[in-house]
Symmetry: C2
Subunit: 346 residues, 2 copies
């Protein structure tokens, strides 16, 4: 049977195509009775308007799930928006699922596999420390995006793709920049080294000091509080406040995320110190707020758009058998804005 078109509906109703269109789109300029009649015909014929609802139905069997850890981190907002655009552009439906810290994301993914005809899964953000046994349970291709995976890939046993930046390298570059600006007392606000993300960024920080032959002041490595979100402004504020109250000599604060850095800024301003005149502040991620903050935030910008696009194109290529799984590292960019400056000589 030929597909029903909007013209068929118009003909059957004895109205113009534009009237059918107005009825479908709830346009105010249509007689309610006419609208009702048109909608009845549409329902009877099973006509599906050519809009997203149609795409959704068509792609019912093709669906990608994105499991997000830390959805309140603004860094993920842009990632999700672009992932969603790319997914829809490729005529896949997207299921977005926030994973709480207390939840087992593989179990969540297994549930989704049951209920939906899933073709692929993106794990976005946070940390992933499940065993190979666990991952092997998942039957569809997986891409880890901006996530730290604690298992080696590509041993022929467990296959997955990953998209990330080289956290150790980028963290080293930021620290080198601060050292070259004359700073020595560079506090680092970060997750603990037990967290893979924390470990890599701390390693980079230490490397920069070692390369420069400057000893690390261990008391300036400050771990975020465990009783609140690790990458929140609240945590950056609380951790920086403690640091400042400790009386330690500090001329720069480098934080492992922009949200932490913005929290630190607030603590510094409240302590009556100026940024960057008294204390320089640098972040990591490149969230939009950094451009709008006052002062504008110096940061390590992850290429959010490219990473999000590659996440989906790689996943679709693997699903289609056009590509093997890959581990891809993107270069990040050191963006120097207003929140950092040369260390003032006393």
């Amino acid at each position: 049977m030929a597909e029903i078109t909007i013209k068929d509906i118009a003909k059957q109703c004895g109205v113009g195509v534009s009237t059918v269109s107005r009825a479908i789109n709830n346009h105010p300029d249509i007689n309610p009775e006419t609208r009702k009649m048109v909608m009845r015909v549409i329902e009877e014929t099973g006509f599906i308007p050519n809009n997203s609802a149609r795409n959704l139905k068509r792609t019912d069997a093709k669906c990608i799930a994105v499991l997000v850890k830390g959805i309140t981190n603004p860094f993920f907002s842009d990632m999700i928006r672009i992932i969603e655009e790319e997914t829809q552009r490729n005529r896949y439906a997207l299921v977005l699922r926030h994973v709480e810290g207390s939840e087992d994301e593989v179990e969540v993914a297994l549930e989704l596999e049951k209920e939906k005809r899933l073709r692929g899964i993106v794990f976005l953000g946070g940390r992933f420390n499940h065993t190979r046994e666990k991952i092997r349970k998942l039957s569809v291709p997986i891409v880890f995006s901006t996530i730290n995976v604690d298992i080696p890939a590509g041993d022929g046993e467990v296959e997955f793709s990953s998209i990330a930046v080289d956290d150790r390298l980028e963290s080293r570059k930021m620290t080198e920049y601060l050292l070259e600006a004359g700073h020595r007392d560079i506090a680092f606000i970060t997750e603990r080294p037990e967290e893979s993300l924390g470990r890599k960024r701390i390693d980079g920080y230490r490397e920069a000091f070692a390369n420069k032959g400057v000893p690390v002041r261990e008391e300036l490595i400050r771990y975020v509080q465990d009783d609140m979100d690790h990458f929140s402004m609240e945590n950056g504020y609380a951790t920086a406040k403690k640091l400042l109250e400790s009386g330690e000599r500090v001329s720069a604060v480098y934080a492992a995320s922009d949200s932490l850095a913005i929290g630190a800024c607030r603590a510094i301003l409240e302590a009556g110190r100026r940024i960057p005149e008294d204390i320089s502040v640098a972040g990591y991620d490149g969230i939009r707020m950094g451009e709008y903050y006052n002062p504008k935030l110096t940061t390590v910008r992850q290429p959010v758009e490219e990473m999000a696009k590659k996440t989906i194109s790689l996943l679709l290529d693997v699903i289609a058998g056009r590509q093997e799984h890959q581990q891809i590292l993107f270069p990040a960019e050191l963006v120097v804005r207003e929140s950092t400056a040369e260390r003032r000589r006393a």
Copy 2:
């Protein structure tokens, strides 16, 4: 058959309960062989560990969907987090679904109804202008949360609940505060009055001027650009920049969201004007960033936590037949921080 417990597993494996627990939680302090053995027994017995995975399975048939418009707006991040907590606390599973501007959210909801055993739907954020016919297709209870619904409720034909603040009243209060601080040239950055949210907040702005007997300078009502997200920092920046470049006399900028206000701050600072010494800035919503911004942002704080909790408790009450549908308005709070001040006399 009695439910299998962690003790049964421990007994069958010949290990202690704590070892089983370590195996389940991927604890590093366990022999890999032991772990493998424990996991095999767990799989064989069908034992489900007492964690969220278990809750998820139990509540498989009871599920709530949250359809979010404008997930990139930071105002919704907190709402979603609390809604998710409340949903899980009540042993319902939550499906979070971002709705694009181009998507028909009722179609999305109908799809979800098919695939999941949905018990209720929350529409969060944005604007909802579907017809009664459309809403009636949905078979489960609906709560509109912080959303502007363009249809009257409770006529016996279409039933739904809604949770919101009184946008007109709260917008009037903010405008009154600015007028009382001596400001007359109060620019307003907002959505167009064709958008229901824009209309209500503009009505409030006008009411405050009328009550005070001060004429509104129409040229100071500035609509956000349609070619970008309506409630984004980018849009606030672009709209405020145009305003400042127009050369109109302005002593205060009031924006219909905090994200718009932060964008406006950036434009003002770039123009070499000080906040609040030269221009006061006020927002709306009460996002967290407002507390961390420099200067701290004056705003209308919506009671996010209470609204999110009520959204879920009301929905569950309606599902259980304990409550009729209700339209609830929450009071917002005028929060005066550092970004506004008395108008300086020339």
